[in-house]
């Protein structure tokens, strides 16, 4: 390779030589063929864990099997997932400060649209949270809509006021994990094991966990979008 072409090369162009790319493509095709073979060799009809979940659905406190698995039967996964979100935010905040420069001022149309959309999105998030008990929905879907509302606010040039960017923001971020852990450990005082909700209280406890989780997930994902810790924070 001559120096002239090396100078013109940017990071975007940096990739394997054509012959190596062809070789990689062949190897990856082999992987794809192996995966396809593995998929096709699976039994064509399988009940999986459908019956196991269905048998105990009445004890879970909710009527929708996916929510029951997420918040009750496999609550440990969901608790640790919330911890992962929090850890990622700690990592991002340790690595960088949110860029202080604002985007160009939002035009009148965008500004009006955001004012109209954000309350609607909060309403949709609340609906998704509530409907999760008996239909597709739940804390993560609601949290995603909440974070989208946050991203819209950020893109239209709005930021959290300094008074809210400190403790109030941090409390919102950790509330999901804190409430989840408190409930998980609290049920142990009644003699149950970790995360084993008493079935008459399960519905209420799950709603409490999901409501705080929605707020935390929304705030965390929107904070991740900013790409760094807020400058005004301590």
């Amino acid at each position: 390779m001559s120096n002239k072409t090396a100078k013109l090369k940017t990071d975007e162009d940096e990739r394997f030589a054509p012959f190596l790319r062809l070789l990689t493509a062949l190897l990856v095709s082999g992987v794809a063929a192996g995966l396809a073979y593995a998929v096709l060799s699976l039994p064509h009809v399988a009940t999986g864990l459908n019956d196991a979940v269905g048998d105990r659905l009445a004890l879970s406190g909710v009527d929708h099997p996916v929510t029951a698995v997420l918040l009750n039967f496999r609550g440990y996964d969901t608790l640790l997932e919330m911890v992962v979100l929090l850890l990622v935010l700690v990592g991002v905040w340790s690595l960088s400060v949110a860029p202080s420069e604002h985007e160009a001022e939002a035009g009148a149309v965008l500004d009006y649209l955001v004012r109209f959309l954000v309350p609607l999105m909060i309403l949709i998030a609340a609906y998704l949270l509530w409907v999760g008990a008996h239909a597709p929905g739940g804390a993560f879907q609601a949290g995603a809509v909440m974070s989208a509302a946050g991203v819209l606010l950020v893109l239209s040039g709005r930021r959290l006021p300094g008074s809210l960017a400190g403790w109030p923001l941090r409390l919102t971020l950790v509330a999901g994990v804190a409430v989840f852990t408190a409930v998980a450990a609290g049920v142990m005082s009644t003699g149950a094991s970790l995360l084993e909700y008493p079935s008459q209280w399960a519905g209420v406890l799950i709603l409490l966990i999901e409501a705080t989780a929605t707020l935390s997930i929304g705030a965390t994902l929107a904070a991740l979008f900013l790409g760094g810790r807020p400058e005004d924070g301590p």
Partner: protein, 102 residues
């Protein structure tokens, strides 16, 4: 070919496509995007194969795992992007050094 297997096969193909992109491209943003394509393939396999039940309602456990996985993937992508920006700020380039002073 039931829809469950069609989804699972397309998921496998997406996984392989992402793997190719991850290996061939040096630019970190392309690697992160390729990883996300691979992850989407895995989710499609899980979500598709959950539909192999005789009674029609899909197996809820893989679906719950996919929801968990999507959130973790989004969070990991955010961390990867911030790390990429740090690499760029430190070295001035958006590729990882290859250990030969390049």
């Amino acid at each position: 070919m039931t829809p469950a297997f069609l989804y699972a096969l397309i998921g496998s193909a997406l996984f392989a496509l992402g793997l190719y992109g991850l290996i061939v491209h040096a630019h970190l943003l392309r690697k992160i995007l390729a990883l996300n394509v691979m992850g989407s393939g895995v989710f499609l396999v899980l979500g598709g194969l959950a539909g192999r039940t005789p009674q029609g309602a899909p197996d809820p456990v893989p679906h719950a795992m996919v929801i968990t996985g999507i959130v973790v993937a989004v969070a990991a992508t955010a961390l990867a992007l911030v790390l990429m920006l740090r690499v760029r700020a430190t070295t001035g380039r958006t590729v990882l050094p290859d250990g030969r002073g390049n």
